[in-house]
Symmetry: C2
Subunit: 227 residues, 2 copies
């Protein structure tokens, strides 16, 4: 088991002791991370993931080339950070949005996806290069296999929760794990469509979302499918 990043045990003591003093180290660390992310976002958008080099990112962030890798294991991880944050963000948002709690499933899912798409809009230029790689397991011979899968576990549980609630309300039959799994595949399809959608305000994608979700749920409601 390798520790890819230089790790610290800080924070544990901090959390217990004085919470008003963040400490010079933590502040610096956070500032550096923010600078990296800021510069990386700019370069990824302008040059794409492939076109932007870690050397340039480091230079413009004012750090040494090696320092970058103390913050992100790989360049790909750096790019994926934006995608991961978007998932976290939407989960928080959904938890807070109480009016959605009792809305019909179609509306919930539509809102979730729409919100996610909104969120990744600034990353449109490079997110396509990276999204699918995060989904895929690396080679089974590669020790990173599990790790890359874990990225999605939190999100899948989130979706699973939404679906389970709908199952309990009797909106849809019991789908089990496959429900969230199917949704993930569906979401990936939507993102792909979205990436190629040149209509104003991505209207076409929104229309497709609306129609396809309505259709899928209308169907699930009708039949009594036994899985």
């Amino acid at each position: 088991m390798k520790a890819h990043l230089q790790r610290s045990n800080s924070g544990r003591r901090q959390a217990v002791a004085n919470r008003a003093k963040p400490g010079k180290r933590i502040i610096k660390k956070q500032r550096t991370k923010e600078r990296i992310l800021e510069v990386a976002l700019d370069l990824f958008c302008r040059k794409g993931l492939h076109g932007a080099t870690t050397k340039e990112i480091s230079r413009k962030a004012g750090i040494a080339e090696g320092t970058l890798f103390n913050y992100f294991e790989t360049k790909e991880d750096l790019a994926l950070y934006f995608f991961e944050k978007e998932a976290e963000e939407v989960m928080k948002w959904f938890a807070a949005e109480k009016s959605l709690r009792r809305a019909p499933l179609a509306e919930q899912l539509f809102s979730v996806i729409q919100r996610q798409l909104d969120y990744i809009t600034p990353y449109e230029a490079f997110i396509g290069e990276v999204v699918f790689r995060s989904l895929q397991p690396r080679s089974k011979l590669n020790p990173l296999s599990l790790e890359s899968q874990e990225r999605w576990i939190g999100y899948l549980r989130f979706i699973r929760g939404i679906l389970e609630a709908a199952e309990k309300r009797g909106e849809i039959p019991e789908l089990g794990d496959l429900g969230a799994y199917a949704f993930a595949a569906y979401y990936m399809g939507i993102v792909t469509y979205w990436l190629h959608d040149n209509s104003r305000g991505k209207q076409k994608t929104l229309a497709l979302l609306d129609r396809s979700l309505a259709m899928a749920l209308a169907i699930l409601r009708k039949g009594d499918w036994k899985w």
Copy 2:
């Protein structure tokens, strides 16, 4: 417009003139390509796409490092070759299999996917690293964007053809381009599931295929969805 590979105009004259004499060049070329593919398949399976190096592939194939790139633009392209060949293969097979021509759509699609999965079984260890990259557009800033999309056009047209025939038979409503598009997303989901399926003979995947296809088509048959 760059020509990435050293190209030849050979073959044109050959085709018109003497077809019994392949010519030393063409033979050598083909042999080299075969050796590369043989070695690459072995190494990709044993070490994964990331673990196998172009240096080792070249060495074991008995060619210089640079020669490899006269045959395949990138290492990724080399790996994708196996996936592309599989698509070609299944299209040929389907065209030849006359009994399938008038089979119900579910059976057709099931057969197609099952055949494709069978075909990629030897590549299981590394295909996951590569499949999704071929689907995705590279960055819009990257000139390779269109190219990587073109990989799928042939296959999508093939699926489109099958769906259109079913539309004309009245099996399903008219879906337009979205039909093939949805199928591709579905297929990607199945492949992902297949990659993680450890059941004997991938039974779970086959069961899922069966159920999900039957369900999807039963649904499409029922409603009169206007797109």
